[in-house]
Subunit: 368 residues, 2 copies
DNA sequence: ATGAAAGCGCTAACAC
DNA sequence: GTGTTAGCGCTTTCAT
């Protein structure tokens, strides 16, 4: 039985493919493929003809088929802790934008800070045959990362363990910004400075707290145990933490928060309790999410450039994907943080002991 | 030359596929495929054996291959105006969550309110052979929608034109919520009530403004032309709009904003200018984004349930995808809006003319 | 510079 | 219940 050369249309649907283009342009499908992929060995004449036909037919290549045939899906994964957190939504956006410029699609996953969601996320990534994954959440068990590396998937972690093999790592230099914040507050005569942490089960939360502790030690400032309160990086957590601080016999005069959402909750609670920010209480956030600028008063915060982070992450992944195969140890990246002075810090009006008066009239609008 | 039955591994990479499983489980690849797809006609014994092998080999199906062979990509597209806008990031999240439950991946696109980005978005969708698209932005030219319908892609629009063929439509009932807001303000004795619109090139912005105008007319309240100011749905736009309002000889005592981000800008500016919200000026937002609750004072706003919107959109799309093929007219959906009373509205303390005193002491915390 | 042909990993008839 | 086989739409040698 001779093979028929009839195009079988399954389910009666009609799709333009390179076959159609090939026959109309009187060339082989190979030439069409080359043309569409900008392979240089195609003659000007054919190329022109092929492009014309393709446009006329309103042709769009089939990514699935392409991926299958070429072995490259041109997809990467991005796993974040919470897509609805402004900090991450900004990152997701820039990351995707960057990916797009490199002709990559990105599979987004928000774990909503629940570790249980990771396994399904990893599964999706693997089934879509992504070429690499960026992980921006601590709620990820070793097992899941192993599952990925086991399948040869290049990994870029945010604040992962120091010397990871099989994966690159982006480290945030919390200390640089937090030290600036601490010095700023001390310069404003604050003596009782509180710190509201993130969930301490996460490395990154611990790192921020430790950076604070270290900064205070450098300045020879005592820090009561009471003044370190655990939050959860949500406004609600911030409110609860402030409540706890409010019960103290000696209230802090300044609070440093592990992220801006926490600071948002703190300020909200202050408003409710009639506490004036920054006259009665100075507040500093962390992340510099877009809306921090629009709070009233505008939040003084530590900037962690979401744009730099997102771009660094994608580029790091690209490097690892296109780089040599296999077990090469990943690259380390470091991102600095910086204090952004706005309106929520003020000279401490109620110092406990008289210190020598310095000519620092106010913290507002002051260049650091 | 006899055909060899050797698995040719391209590029030297090793991937477990159903062939591998089949040979180890001593069945054909068809049976493996059936098992993995839970087709009931597989014997218990074989199924068990196959699952065991699959698990042991750490097998993950290849979605691309699946899509190609079956003709179903199990991917849908979601196009939103701005992923970094809290209103949309919430929607994106819930939409994706819902999609996941139905075993669908979602291709997210944020047009950043630029129409130019639509064409590339549409291109991506088409190349990924998505099964349907939800469009939640007005910045989309007819041409692009046509491109999609032309390719038989089911469409769900948010606030699209009324009687669209080839696409379903989710209509927001702006009037229900805006009328409540207007009545609330009038009940609080406000007479000069301003409205900051969204960009008036968009149907949805016009619709909100018109709902306001209509509500005021219903209440026999005059609305000066000066009191309708165009914003752009960003905090910056809100600030600019308030600036304009501030120049008026007769300031409004209440402002209704086309969205919460605008209200955020307004409140920020008020804080800067020493205008007390709500004593001097009542402010009402629209959308009820999560942070509106955490502003200080907490924003009174009109709720548009992001959860309902996202779920409705996805389910509508599912219906159109699985429904009959071709040119069936889509379904219309309607979503109500509702006033949420919080802390940014207050009895007007400076009424122009004495109206009869009613026993309404304050707008704060009041049930409407 | 172009074409023929062999798959990529899987699904879905169809046959038994 | 299970196996055989023909593709899905494309890329990519290998010849020519």
């Amino acid at each position: 039985v001779p093979a028929m050369r009839v195009r079988k249309q399954s389910r009666g649907e009609f799709t333009v493919g390179i076959r159609e283009i090939a026959s109309r342009a009187k060339v082989s499908i190979a030439t069409v493929s080359r043309t569409l992929n900008n392979v240089s060995t195609v003659s000007r004449k054919s190329a022109k003809r092929i492009w014309n036909v393709a446009n006329k037919l309103n042709y769009y290549p089939n990514n699935q088929a392409r991926a299958l045939a070429s072995g490259h899906s041109r997809m990467v994964g991005l796993i974040v802790a919470d897509l609805t957190d402004p900090f991450f939504s900004e990152i997701v956006h820039i990351f995707q934008e960057t990916a797009l410029q490199h002709n990559y699609e990105v599979l987004i996953t928000s774990t909503q800070r629940q570790e249980s969601r990771m396994s399904v996320a990893v599964q999706r990534m693997l089934e879509c045959k992504i070429e690499g994954v960026v992980v921006m959440t601590s709620q990820i068990a070793e097992v899941h990362l192993q599952e990925l590396t086991q399948h040869q998937v290049p990994l870029v972690l945010l604040g992962g363990p120091r010397n990871t093999s099989h994966s690159s790592n982006i480290q945030i230099d919390f200390l640089s910004g937090i030290r600036q914040a601490a010095q700023h507050l001390v310069a404003l005569r604050h003596e009782r400075i509180a710190f509201i942490t993130g969930p301490l089960v996460f490395q990154s939360s611990v790192a921020r707290r430790d950076a604070f502790l270290r900064s205070m030690r450098e300045l020879a400032m005592a820090v009561d145990r009471d003044l370190i309160v655990e939050g959860d990086h949500t406004p609600e957590g911030g409110e609860r933490a402030l409540e706890q601080l409010l019960k103290l016999v000696k209230m802090p005069t300044a609070i440093l928060c592990s992220n801006d959402m926490t600071a948002l909750g703190v300020m909200r609670k202050c408003f409710g309790e009639g506490i004036d920010v920054p006259q009665d209480l100075s507040v500093i956030g962390f992340d510099n999410i877009r809306i921090s600028e629009y709070m009233s008063p505008a939040l003084t915060t530590i900037d962690l450039s979401q744009e730099r982070l997102a771009k660094t992450a994608f580029l790091a992944l690209m490097k690892d994907i296109s780089g040599n195969v296999g077990n090469a140890l990943g690259t380390q990246y470091d991102l600095k943080t910086n204090l952004i002075l706005r309106e929520t810090t003020h000279l401490n009006l109620h110092p406990e002991k008289e210190t020598r008066k310095l000519a620092i009239p106010s913290g507002r609008g002051q260049k650091f």
